[in-house]
């Protein structure tokens, strides 16, 4: 999955930023490996007095033991680590081309060490069988492989960060309309999508936590939703949105379909997977335009439309599952509670985190660095020193 994200993001940004984006992807995985093992896993799957809200044990877990169901804890940890890495990588893509390396690195540590594990505890805390389940799981919230827990969490963290960060230089014209910034290489992005698609087989199939025929069904449903998301986004964009940003929408639609089905790939049928794929593709297109044109949120890789909006769509559409054993209206309400809880938690904590980063290590690089490409050493120069005549000119204005 990390390789796929790296290719998608590097292909989407401008050429001068590809190295910094690639490096951030590498750093994401390195941070995830260390921080999730030593800290995040405990908050997510531990027990303690705050169990249900937050785990407080299982930091640096003993790997030779087993979780409930007999699965080795080390295997479970590795699998969950990949989910955590996905959440953080979503943030790096969305905020690329203007976020400093040090603040990003710091944000990654906090995301994978706290924001994501807490959300994960609410929905999945009981998976390891160490303690009772989280409060969302107790309500009956269903998110099979993380449409909300993994994908939306990353997207909403990005949303908070982007509101604070502002758009890239040159992104909007004088009327406030978004100007297309040249992608480095769309073909490279498509390779990334296909790598991610393959990774999704492992994510969704692996979420069964066992190998049986049902894994194949999960993978087939996943494929169908991804394919329908891609086709729906393409035709919707072509015939209803004048083909604007059609490459971004085709790519985002495919990923959106994969994100959408992730919440319920194990209980949907191929037919309902088609519905989820189509819905995700269309929702993606509207969300893409809403974010860039109306809200002026400059998401460099379209991550929020894909992971946030399609994640929410898929989570709500769990209720159409033919194999689901629940009351549809009640379940829809519970799913809505889960979607909103994720939104509020992720945006609030990320907002606080990014505000603190801005006050301490800074958040945005200098315009010069943004123009030339972000350096991982964070070397930036101040704007030019004024000349005396310029200050005199200003003083004349004041009189």
């Amino acid at each position: 999955m990390q390789a796929g994200f790296k290719c998608v993001e590097v292909g989407m940004v401008r050429e001068k930023h590809m190295v910094s984006v690639a490096m951030k992807n590498l750093i994401d995985w390195s941070v995830t490996t260390i921080v999730f093992y030593f800290i995040g896993y405990g908050f997510m799957f531990g027990t303690g007095p705050l169990s249900g809200l937050l785990g407080l044990s299982e930091f640096y877990p003993e790997l030779s033991s087993s979780i409930s169901g007999g699965l080795n804890k080390g295997v479970f940890l590795l699998f969950q680590m990949a989910f955590a890495g996905t959440t953080v990588t979503i943030v790096s893509g969305a905020m690329s081309e203007r976020t400093g390396f040090v603040p990003y690195l710091t944000a990654s540590i906090f995301c994978v060490g706290f924001i994501y594990p807490v959300m994960g505890h609410w929905a999945w805390g009981g998976l390891a069988g160490e303690a009772g389940s989280g409060w969302l799981a107790d309500l009956g919230f269903y998110d099979f492989a993380g449409s909300t827990v993994v994908h939306s969490t990353g997207a909403w963290i990005s949303l908070a960060g982007l509101k604070l960060l502002g758009p890239r230089i040159g992104r909007y014209d004088e009327h406030g309309n978004p100007k297309p910034l040249k992608h480095y290489n769309i073909a490279y992005t498509v390779l990334g999508v296909l790598l991610l698609w393959l990774g999704w087989w492992g994510f969704n199939g692996g979420s069964m936590l066992k190998f049986s025929f049902s894994v194949i069904e999960v993978i087939i449903n996943t494929n169908i939703a991804g394919a329908m998301g891609c086709l729906a986004a393409y035709f919707h964009c072509k015939y209803f949105q004048n083909g604007e940003d059609i490459y971004d929408k085709l790519i985002g639609g495919a990923l959106g379909g994969l994100v959408g089905i992730t919440a319920s790939a194990n209980i949907q049928s191929p037919a309902t997977s088609v519905v989820i794929g189509i819905a995700s593709g269309i929702v993606h297109n509207y969300a893409f335009d809403l974010l860039s044109k109306k809200w002026k949120v400059d998401d460099a890789v379209g991550a929020i439309a894909v992971h946030g909006f399609c994640g929410a769509t898929g989570t709500l559409l769990v209720v159409i599952a033919p194999n689901g054993d629940f009351d549809i209206l009640r379940q829809f309400f519970v799913q809505l509670v889960g979607v909103l809880a994720c939104l509020v938690w992720s945006v609030t904590t990320a907002w606080i985190m990014f505000r603190m980063l801005r006050k301490t290590v800074g958040l945005r690089v200098s315009p010069q660095e943004e123009r030339e490409g972000i350096s991982i050493f964070n070397v930036s120069e101040s704007p030019e020193e004024p000349e005396d005549e310029e200050i005199e000119e200003l003083l004349r204005q004041m009189r």
């Binding site: 230089i169 909007y172 101040s382 200050i391």
Partner: protein, 64 residues
């Protein structure tokens, strides 16, 4: 014709904030602007993302 799209303000040693021209005019008085220029903490940017020379930016601000 050059026009100001954004104004980048250096907030502290490591952080910059990007304003649109209208936000900049709303948020910064003429006194603030002088102080920012004196500190070398301001940069004006055109719609192509290029830096505008300070003297040119002041002239444009005057005209606006």
């Amino acid at each position: 014709m050059t026009r100001i799209a954004n104004v980048s303000i250096k907030k502290n040693a490591n952080d910059y904030k990007l304003y649109t021209l209208s936000e900049f005019k709303e948020d910064f008085t003429i006194v603030d602007r002088v102080q920012l220029i004196q500190k070398g903490a301001i940069e004006f940017i055109d719609f192509d993302g290029n830096k505008i020379k300070l003297s040119e930016a002041i002239r444009l601000l005057n005209q606006a």
